[in-house]
Amino acid sequence: MNKKLSLKNAGTFLVFGGPSIFAFAAVVIIPFIVGLYLTFTNWDVRTGDSSLIGFTNYLEVFRDKVFLQQLWFTLKYVFFTVVIANVFAFFIALALTRGGRGEQWLRTGFFTPNLVGGIVLGYLWQTLFSQVLPYLGAKYGWELFQTSWLTNTGTAFWALIIATAWQLVGYLMIIYIAGFTGVPNDVLEAASIDGAGRTSVIRRIILPLTVPAIVICIFISLSRSFLTYDINLALTKGGPFNSTELATYHIVQKAFLSNQYGVGQAEAVVLFAVVAIIALTQSYLLKKLEVES
């Protein structure tokens, strides 16, 4: 068991680890290293020429007003998506962990949007926003829905958030439910004997005891919404006039449509750094609130 790796058991390593480590290295490690290198070159797809140019690509990223605007747009989108999805998921989960009748069915139902991939989901909401809601607006004279939400930057922004949050809610709900079931029953009973009301039970007992679930849910919703691509593609296609391009969408366009691989990759690295900093800060801050049950 604790034998040293030698020629004799190198076979074991190759047989058990070979295929997965090889694939992992070829798909994750090497592209990661090459990717970092790429950000310091001016690689040209058509000619294949490439030379080191230092931090020029990164400077270009921070000089590119469009990218910075889209990064800011992405940050706002992520913030609202994370807050809305988590608040709804939290309360739906709370309502669905009381052991009432039909709970299993309700959970199953709220989870269904997660079976649908981003492309299908995006087109589904596109149909609703561009056809069904304007129909309602015209029929009942609701000004809010008179024109399609997707033709105006401000409303298209909310359309994106609604579609993403709609999918995330069910997923986060499942995790919150798991967190709530971990709250010991005797603590809840003791609180109700002491005459604590529903709100104070949630605020003083359930919230502090489910901090781990909250950390995970915020982390998942953060990283998922930061990397949204297909919902964006199917729902707004970045329009009107490229005003709803999320960061990932912008990077894909930059790299694969305008062939600026180096700059695109530098943008991806910047995006990654932003996600990492935000995710680490949130889990650090929330972990401080954690208590032992």
Partner: protein, 275 residues
């Protein structure tokens, strides 16, 4: 008191079902309208269809090459999930039972890579594989899914295998069983609960994935279902009725799996997230 409480809980359940109904309205609207003509949809998107005809489904089926997309998705999802599960189980076992330095290095790298977004890897990946002329085959895509799926798989199996007592394998070794045989006849059968978790998470991920296949599979006959949906919508963008039928058809396969596996799916998500 008791009767009051029962009424209250009945009301609450009723309210929750109402909420669920509102939540699922987008699906209902799409289903309803997939049976109408596009003209009827424009005139009254909220009314129930007067006749149930499957014309839109037939037209979507032909125009989006549903069968081809479905078969490609089925093959790619089926094979990648199988190889991810088998190879990560083996590697997870290797990492738990053999405390070699290489093993801990790779285990650490795999853990760290889980925080890495796909967006950081996609450009160099497409560049490298494109230069080697390896794009546009299913084989490359399968290999990539293996590489991306392995870290989480190994991590999950690692956690589970740690809890299996070594004595079980030891007795097999004493009787002269090879490591490979011991693994397949003793360890693998014990891993069933983890299989289901990974199966569920990986199927949902790979079946619905759009970005990676869109970068790797370039020719029309290779398209997976999400890619066919995209092409279908871009080329028929005004004829809504068949488009909605197309959406429903792409959802149905996963929905069927869900109805059979819903308990495991929910369990899988919980375990996958809390690990």
């Amino acid at each position: 008191m008791n009767a009051n409480r029962r009424i209250l809980s009945g009301l609450r359940t009723g309210f929750l079902y109402l909420l669920l109904f509102a939540f699922l309205t987008p699906f209902l609207l799409i289903i309803m309208n997939s049976f109408k003509t596009t003209q009827q949809f424009f005139e009254s998107p909220l009314s129930l269809p007067t006749t149930i005809n499957f014309k839109n489904y037939a037209s979507a089926f032909d125009n989006m090459d549903f069968m081809q997309g479905f078969m490609n998705s089925l093959i790619i999802t089926g094979i990648s999930v199988t190889i991810i599960i088998i190879f990560s189980a083996m590697t997870g076992y290797l990492f738990v039972r053999y405390k070699w330095k290489v093993n801990s290095i790779f285990f650490f790298l795999m853990l760290a890579s889980m925080a890495l977004p796909f967006q950081v890897l996609m450009i160099p990946m497409v560049m490298l594989y494109g230069n080697m002329g390896l794009l546009n085959t299913k084989l490359t895509l399968l290999f990539m899914y293996l590489g991306f799926g392995v870290p989480f798989g190994v991590f999950t199996f690692h956690g589970f295998i740690k809890g299996i007592p070594y004595e079980l394998e030891e007795s097999a070794f004493i009787e002269g069983s090879s490591t490979l045989r011991t693994f397949f006849s003793i360890v693998l059968p014990l891993l069933k609960p983890v299989f289901v978790t990974l199966l569920v998470l990986d199927v949902l991920w790979i079946w619905n994935d759009y970005l990676l296949p869109s970068l790797v599979l370039l020719s029309p006959d290779q398209k997976t279902l999400p890619l066919s949906t995209y092409t279908f919508f871009s080329s028929y963008s005004v004829d809504y009725a068949p488009l909605m039928a197309g959406l429903i058809m792409t959802i149905i396969p996963v929905l069927i799996i869900y109805l059979f596996l819903q308990k495991q799916i929910i369990k899988g998500i919980t375990e996958g997230a809390l690990k």
